[in-house]
C-alpha cells in the first residue's frame, strides 16, 4: 500500500516536472515565416540558427510566397499562430496602419539603433536588402562602354536596340520610369505618378515580356528571350555564377528591403521582440551575404570584417553601391497615393 502511494507520488511529481519543462519550452519558441527557397535556407544558416542558439530558443519556420493575405486572416481570426514575418517592407507598414502588426518598442531592440532611420518604422525593422537593377546580355552588349547604364538608356530604343522586359508590378518600375525621365534618384518621392505612367506608355510597345516571378526574369535573360531587363540583383548574379553571359549595373538601381514585423497578438510576443533584436545583430547580418546575394540591413555589418572586400563590392546595400541607387520609400507606397498608383497598374497593363 505504502509502496503504491509512493509510486503515485513519484509519478505525479514526474508529470509535474514534465509539464513545467513543456511550458518552459513553449515559452521559449517562436514561429518565423519567410519566403522559402534558397533565401530561407541562407538565413537559417546565417541568422536563424545562430540566433536560436544564442537566445536559447526554438525557432520554428514556415514559408509562403505571399504572406500578406494570410497575415490578415490570421489576425482577423483573433488567434494568430505566426510571430515574426519577413515580408516586403510595404506590407509591414500597411499592417501597422491596419492594426495587423504590433508597434515596436525600439528600446528593446538596441541593435537597430545603428541603422538609418529610413531602415526602420514604428512597425518594422529592415532585415535585408536587394535591388531592382538594369541587367543585360553580354553577347548583345559585349562592350561596357556601349552597354546600357541607366534607365534613360533602357528607354532609348534607338540607341540601344534589343528586346526588353520589366516587372509586371508598379513597385520600382515607376521609380525607374521617373529616373528615365530625368528625375534624380534622391528626388523621386513623392512619385509623380502621372509622369511615371506617361513615361511607361512610351516604352510599353517595346516591352516583350512583363515578368511576374524572379525565376522568370532570370530565364528570359538567360534564354536570350530578352536583351535587357529590370531584375533583382541576386537573380542576375546567380546566372553569372552559372556561367551565363549576363551582367548588371547598380547605377540607378532601386534599393528595396524586406523587414521583420510581429503579428498583432502574436502568441510569443516577448520572445519575438528578443529575436528581432538578435536578427539585426551586425555579425549575424554580416553572415547573410556569405550565403546569398543579398545585402545586410544593418550597416554595422560592414564594419565586422566578416565580409571580404571583394564581396562588399557586390552587395546592394554596401555604402559605395547604395550611393548610386535610389532607396525605395515604402512609406510613400503605403500612402493613399501609393496605393492608388498600385491599383492603376492593372489598368495600364490592359490597355
Amino acid at each position: 500500500m505504502a509502496k503504491s502511494l509512493n509510486f503515485r507520488t513519484a509519478s505525479v511529481a514526474a508529470g509535474f516536472f514534465l509539464a513545467m519543462l513543456g511550458s518552459a519550452m513553449a515559452a521559449e519558441q517562436i514561429m518565423f515565416v519567410s519566403q522559402g527557397g534558397a533565401y530561407q535556407k541562407a538565413q537559417t544558416i546565417a541568422i536563424l540558427d545562430p540566433s536560436a542558439k544564442k537566445l536559447g530558443i526554438t525557432i520554428n519556420q514556415d514559408s509562403v510566397p505571399d504572406a500578406w493575405p494570410i497575415m490578415r486572416s490570421q489576425v482577423a481570426s483573433g488567434k494568430p499562430t505566426w510571430d515574426v514575418v519577413d515580408v516586403a517592407t510595404n506590407f509591414c507598414l500597411r499592417g501597422g496602419e491596419q492594426g495587423i502588426v504590433e508597434k515596436l518598442d525600439f528600446s528593446k531592440i538596441p541593435n537597430a539603433a545603428a541603422m538609418p532611420a529610413e531602415y526602420r518604422s514604428d512597425y518594422s525593422v529592415a532585415y535585408e536588402f536587394y535591388s531592382s537593377v538594369l541587367g543585360y546580355n553580354l553577347k548583345k552588349f559585349p562592350d561596357a562602354a556601349s552597354a546600357p547604364k541607366s534607365w534613360a538608356d533602357f528607354w532609348d530604343v534607338k540607341k540601344f536596340s534589343g528586346r526588353r522586359s520589366l516587372r509586371n508590378h508598379p513597385l520600382a518600375t515607376l521609380e525607374a520610369a521617373l529616373m528615365a525621365d530625368g528625375v534624380a534618384p534622391d528626388k523621386l518621392y513623392p512619385l509623380d505618378v502621372e509622369r511615371a505612367f506617361k513615361k511607361l506608355e512610351e516604352i510599353k510597345p517595346n516591352i516583350t515580356v512583363w515578368w511576374t516571378s524572379g525565376a522568370q526574369s532570370a530565364q528570359l535573360l538567360n534564354d536570350g528571350e530578352v536583351d535587357m531587363v529590370m531584375a533583382w540583383n541576386g537573380r542576375i548574379s546567380a546566372l553569372t555564377k552559372e556561367g551565363a553571359k549576363v551582367t548588371y549595373t547598380y547605377n540607378q538601381g532601386i534599393l528595396q528591403s524586406t523587414s521583420l514585423c510581429v503579428l498583432k497578438g502574436a502568441p510569443n510576443l516577448p520572445t519575438a521582440i528578443k529575436f528581432l533584436n538578435e536578427a539585426v545583430d551586425p555579425v549575424h547580418q554580416a553572415n547573410l551575404p556569405l550565403h546569398i546575394d543579398y545585402g545586410p540591413a544593418n550597416p554595422k555589418a560592414y564594419d565586422t570584417k566578416v565580409i571580404s572586400e571583394a564581396r562588399v563590392k557586390e552587395l546592394p546595400s554596401a555604402p559605395e553601391n547604395a550611393k548610386v541607387q535610389a532607396l525605395m520609400s515604402y512609406a510613400w507606397w503605403t500612402s493613399p497615393a501609393g496605393e492608388a498608383a498600385e491599383k492603376r497598374w492593372l489598368q495600364f497593363m490592359q490597355k
Binding site: 500578406w68 515580356v209 515578368w211 534564354d223 528571350e225 496605393e339 492593372l346 490592359q350
Partner: protein, 289 residues
C-alpha cells in the same frame, strides 16, 4: 371507425425511397462540406466587410479594369473553344472510325498530356515557342521566316497552350457521341444517293451536335477559369479574370474584393450551363448515357 389500408406496393416504394436517401447522404454531405459551404462563404465575403456592402460589386461594374478583363477572358475562351473544336473534331472522328488498336492509340495520344501537370506543359510551350525556341529555329532554318515570330508572351501563346491543355475536353465528349452514331446510318445515306459530304452534313454532323455542344461548353467554361497558362505565357499583358482575382487579393488585402469577382465568374458559368442545358440536358452533356 374506418381503417385505411395502405397499398403494399406504395409502402415498398416509400421504403425504397428512404433507402435511396440514406445511400445518397454521404455524397450529399461531402458536396455540402466541400462545395456548398465554401462557395457560400465566398459569396458572403463578397457582400460583407464590417457590415453589408456592395462596394466590391460596384467596382466590378464600374471600373474599366474589370470589364476589360472579362472581355479579354471571354474572347480568349471563344477562340480556344473554336480552335479546340476545329482541331478536336477530326481527331474524334478518326478515333470513332478507327479499328480496335488504332482508336485506342489515337485516344491515348489525346489523353497523354493529361498526365503531365499544367505547369510543366506551360513551360514546355515556352521552350517551344519562345524567340530562341525550337519552333522559331526550325522556321528560320527552313527559311520561312527571317525574324523570330512572337508566338509566346502574348495572347497567341496563351491561346496555343490553352488549346493544347483543353483539347481532351473537346475530343472526349465528341468521341463518345460519335461512337454511338450507328455505322449503318452513313451507309444508308450513301445508298440513298447522298455523297460523302452530303451525308456527313445531313446525317453525321447533326447527330454529333450533342457532343459538339458538350465539348464547346466544357472547354469554354474551363478556359474562363484559367490562371497558370496566361500568367506564364501571356507576357503580363494577357490579364484574364482569374488573374484579377489573385491581384485583388494582393491589392485590396480583402477576400471580399476577390470573392466578388469569383462570384460574378461563377454566375457567368452557371448562366452558360443553364442556357446550354435548355438545348441538351446536363447529364447527357457531362456523361452520355
Amino acid at each position: 371507425m374506418t381503417t385505411q389500408t395502405i397499398d403494399p406496393s406504395l409502402r415498398h416504394q416509400r421504403r425504397e425511397q428512404a433507402l435511396m436517401t440514406l445511400l445518397a447522404a454521404p455524397a450529399v454531405l461531402v458536396i455540402v462540406a466541400l462545395v456548398v459551404i465554401p462557395v457560400g462563404w465566398l459569396a458572403a465575403q463578397s457582400i460583407y466587410d464590417n457590415g453589408f456592402t456592395l462596394e466590391h460589386y460596384r467596382r466590378i461594374f464600374t471600373e474599366e479594369v474589370y470589364w476589360r478583363s472579362f472581355a479579354l477572358t471571354f474572347r480568349i475562351a471563344l477562340m480556344v473553344t473554336l480552335l479546340t473544336l476545329l482541331l478536336g473534331y477530326p481527331v474524334a472522328y478518326a478515333a470513332a472510325h478507327a479499328k480496335r488498336p488504332w482508336n485506342v492509340l489515337i485516344l491515348a495520344c489525346v489523353m497523354l498530356p493529361f498526365w503531365t501537370s499544367v505547369l510543366v506543359r506551360a513551360y514546355a510551350w515556352l521552350v517551344l515557342l519562345q524567340r530562341t525556341g525550337v519552333a522559331n529555329q526550325l522556321l528560320e532554318r527552313f527559311g520561312l521566316i527571317t525574324e523570330p515570330l512572337a508566338m509566346v508572351h502574348n495572347e497567341l501563346g496563351t491561346v496555343i497552350a490553352t488549346v493544347h491543355i483543353l483539347l481532351p475536353f473537346m475530343v472526349l465528349p465528341l468521341y463518345s457521341t460519335m461512337q454511338k452514331i450507328p455505322r449503318e446510318l452513313m451507309l444508308a445515306g450513301a445508298s440513298l444517293g447522298g455523297g460523302p459530304l452530303y451525308s456527313f452534313l445531313r446525317i453525321f454532323l447533326p447527330l454529333s451536335l450533342p457532343g459538339v455542344v458538350a465539348g464547346l461548353t466544357l472547354v469554354f467554361v474551363l478556359t474562363l477559369g484559367f490562371y497558370i497558362t496566361p500568367e506564364l505565357l501571356g507576357g503580363g499583358r494577357t490579364v484574364m479574370i482569374s488573374m484579377v482575382v489573385s491581384r485583388n487579393v494582393e491589392l485590396y488585402a480583402q477576400w471580399g474584393a476577390a470573392s466578388a469577382v469569383g462570384v460574378v465568374l461563377l454566375v457567368c458559368v452557371l448562366a452558360i450551363f443553364a442556357a446550354v442545358g435548355r438545348i441538351i440536358p446536363l447529364d447527357k452533356m457531362l456523361g452520355q448515357k
